[in-house]
Subunit: 227 residues, 2 copies
């Protein structure tokens, strides 16, 4: 009843077009020496709070900016702009993921050479964003302790497409009886050797290790760009 | 760069095909006098724990069963089957929502006349399921207190497509400083007069009011079927 083959074919074309734009973005980012970090997670796992803390804390060390994808509202951009960093909202309408062309449009007129790190917060969704390359250097998947330890097993594709996993809301771990070894095991089962950070944006616990990790990536990239 | 018009056109055809199947399902459900309740939420907002409690508690009053949609695992069906209710998993692969045809296939060989309430747990996603009618009588959208009060504003379409909202994990409300009046106001802003339940599957608080609501709907339906 459902014309699946045709839908799949059209999706493939969309993906191919996306990959062309993503490749050109990646080249621009590389030339400008900017580290591009995208964040994916389900709605409510704390992406915006985490990004807010990240922008506020990293501003003294780096030139940081953010693009924020959302279906309908511009609330997140307003919230994030309080950090003083440049923030641009991308309203996607009914589309459940960002695409490279949306990122390209949002960056029109930006001087990327001025930036050290550009964060891209994807639409809250553990499925749709997985297939869309945005030209980023690093894709981070976030899950909060309140979502349960089984999420990597249920959404393996997004974990496979990401480079790093961050477990957020660790301040609630005891209240929800979060079992870290189980969650860690599930992450490793779908994505062997994935690096995992545990932190709390609310208390700040664990954030410094993550900042050091990002700093090392910025230095690496500069080494590469200079060479 | 992205062939949007063609993609939209194909999506429209998929939706039309879905609506045809959904209509036929709705007719079957009506003839059998079964109340069909679908659950949508983001991953980790507690749909499965909630459904587990619901099946266990309602079994003494009604004949209940459940279909459970997931991308990859059958863990939820195993977990829910412990209640003793009939449970069937629908593995969707990479598809981020259930479709009416999947429900139809999963119900092959079932005698719907034996059932009072059929629950359908959709894939964890606040975007994709909104446009797919499954022939249900009642669509419930769940959000947990840990996701933040702004979710209705960020995902208005799914709230608009639902009949009832349930706020889960109320036992954590104080720990996450959940502001109920704000959340309620945001729900009403996108879906005026929406009925809202607050409950905790963990402690059981608030569950009874929701069970009474479902019981009333079963009685209503029987009145309709008998008439």
């Amino acid at each position: 009843m459902i014309p699946e083959p045709r839908l799949v074919e059209v999706r493939k074309n969309v993906l191919k077009a996306n990959d062309v734009v993503a490749r050109s973005l990646r080249e621009k980012f590389r030339a400008a020496g900017v580290l591009v970090v995208s964040l994916v997670s389900s709605p409510g796992s704390g992406k915006t709070a985490f990004l807010e803390k990240t922008l506020a804390q990293l501003r003294s060390r780096f030139q940081v900016a953010a693009l924020v994808g959302d279906l309908a509202t511009e609330n997140d951009a307003i919230r994030l702009a309080r950090s003083g960093a440049r923030v641009q909202q991308i309203v996607t309408g009914t589309v459940c993921h960002l695409e490279a062309a949306m990122v390209e449009r949002a960056l029109e007129g930006w001087n990327l050479d001025d930036l050290d790190i550009l964060f891209i917060e994807n639409v809250g969704n553990l499925v749709c964003p997985s297939s869309y390359d945005l030209g980023e250097n690093l894709r981070i998947v976030l899950i909060s302790v309140t979502e349960g330890e089984d999420k990597p097993l249920k959404y393996p594709t997004i974990f496979n497409s990401a480079d790093v996993a961050i477990i957020t809301k660790m301040d609630l771990a005891a209240a929800v009886e979060f079992d870290y070894p189980t969650a860690y095991g599930n992450i490793q089962a779908v994505r062997p050797n994935m690096q995992v950070f545990q932190l709390s944006s609310k208390t700040g616990a664990g954030m410094e290790g993550y900042f050091e990790f990002l700093s090392a990536r910025v230095s690496e990239l500069r080494g590469t760009t200079a060479a």
